[in-house]
């Protein structure tokens, strides 16, 4: 509807308390985006397979230069705790057992988009840029392309480059970590 309601925004603390209180089940696939609890779309085999392949490609390329996190949480602000498909994190001795990664820990976020493309590209790109995530790759499986967003400023990424199959992409903060587009969108 056109009329905007003022929804009560929940903080990350509220969100974790909901799990503790049994309001949200541990097994529910949800994220906290701008203070709202948002369900994540169920993972189909194509998406799952793409994330698996991307994870393997990053793991062998980064060696010990970064931690590869798949489908885990990152705490971006008081009101934002999404679960990106894949995140490259600065190495940390405890592998982030003590606390979810914060924006300063993040080298790259990768989202692999099937049906969630519109949501990912608009809302999440803005969210990641606002939080200072230095680089964001959005892999559009259906179109077979990867959009690479860099240089977050004023709530948006200043540069976006599009890559097709046959290309290699490397994150700005890890220029030796070269990933084939096929490893993100399939052959």
């Amino acid at each position: 509807m056109a009329v905007e309601m003022c929804r009560r925004r929940f903080s990350v603390d509220d969100y974790h308390r909901m799990v503790g209180a049994g309001i949200l089940c541990e097994s529910e696939r949800v994220e906290l985006i701008r203070g709202e609890v948002v369900p994540m779309t169920p993972i189909g085999p194509r998406h799952n397979g793409c994330v698996n392949r991307a994870s393997a490609a990053f793991a062998s390329a980064v060696a010990k230069k970064a931690i590869v996190q798949t489908q885990g949480s990152v705490r971006l602000s008081f009101f934002d705790e999404p679960e990106p498909d894949l995140v490259l994190l600065r190495p940390k001795a405890d592998f982030y057992i003590s606390a979810h990664p914060h924006p300063a820990d993040i080298l790259l976020i990768v989202e692999i988009a099937d049906s969630t493309l519109a949501y990912d590209s608009r809302i999440k790109a803005r969210l990641y840029a606002e939080s200072g995530v230095p680089e964001y790759w959005l892999a559009d499986v259906a179109a077979g392309i990867v959009a690479r967003y860099t240089d977050p400023v004023d709530g948006g990424y200043r540069d976006v480059h599009t890559f097709r199959r046959g290309a290699m992409i490397a994150p700005a903060l890890l220029p030796d970590v070269r990933i084939a587009v096929e490893d993100l969108v399939g052959d």
């Binding site: 929804r7 709202e36 948002v38 809302i123 948006g156 540069d159 890559f163 290309a167």
Partner: protein, 207 residues
């Protein structure tokens, strides 16, 4: 080999992005049980003026003195006229569904010996709901009208303070009210289910 197209987003592009119609977000909906549990564990506090509307926790804007005066005056007028034929509740919860528990400005309820101590009133207990609308007019007229009609609330009045009119909605069918009447100062109105409880429009709008 680098097959790429590059583009630098200008400030105009970013502005256009922000203005575009927002993408539909599917939110996790909460039940009244979840809602009460949030209060139990301190996620919602007394200072949070909230309602649960269709599974979403919605904040109510603070009421200015004019709004509060109208609610007080209307509550008193209804209580005096209704006597024993109804219970008048101000800013009290009504439980409409498993996911909807608003706190309307005024609710006129069927009499009950325990005054609903055993459970909040439901749709069949409610004879009339009144919302006083100062800044919240759009929300009260559009969102709440639909929510109340869908739960079968028999009659719903919106006292539109800025425009000096009381909208009276009746005949809830298929999720909307089929009949809408407008009443202005100088008229006296009563709920359909309590024809003897006549109040003046001034009792709702002020002078």
């Amino acid at each position: 080999m680098c097959a790429s197209l590059s583009k630098t987003w200008s400030a105009t592009d970013r502005e256009r992005e922000k203005r575009q119609v927002s993408v539909e977000i599917h939110r996790r909906r909460f039940t009244v049980d979840d809602y009460y549990r949030m209060a139990d564990v301190g996620i919602l506090k007394k200072a949070d003026r909230v309602e649960l509307i269709e599974g979403e926790v919605v904040t109510m804007s603070p009421n200015g003195p004019r709004h509060a005066a109208c609610v007080g005056r209307a509550g008193q007028a209804l209580t005096l006229r209704a006597v024993d034929s109804a219970i008048i509740r101000i800013h009290g919860p009504v439980r409409l569904t498993e996911q909807t528990e608003p706190e309307p400005d005024l609710a006129v309820l069927r009499p009950k010996a325990d005054f609903y101590a055993s459970g909040h009133p439901g749709p069949t207990d409610i004879l009339l709901i009144v919302e006083v609308a100062d800044s919240s007019l759009d929300y009260d007229r559009k969102v709440k009208t639909r929510v109340y009609a869908e739960s079968g609330i028999r009659e719903y009045w919106v006292a539109d303070l800025p425009n000096g009119v009381v909208f009276r909605y009746t005949d809830a069918r298929d999720g909307t009210y089929q009949t809408l009447r407008e009443s202005r100062r100088g008229e006296r109105i009563a709920p359909e289910l309590l024809a003897g409880v006549l109040i003046s429009v001034e009792d709702l709008l002020g002078d």
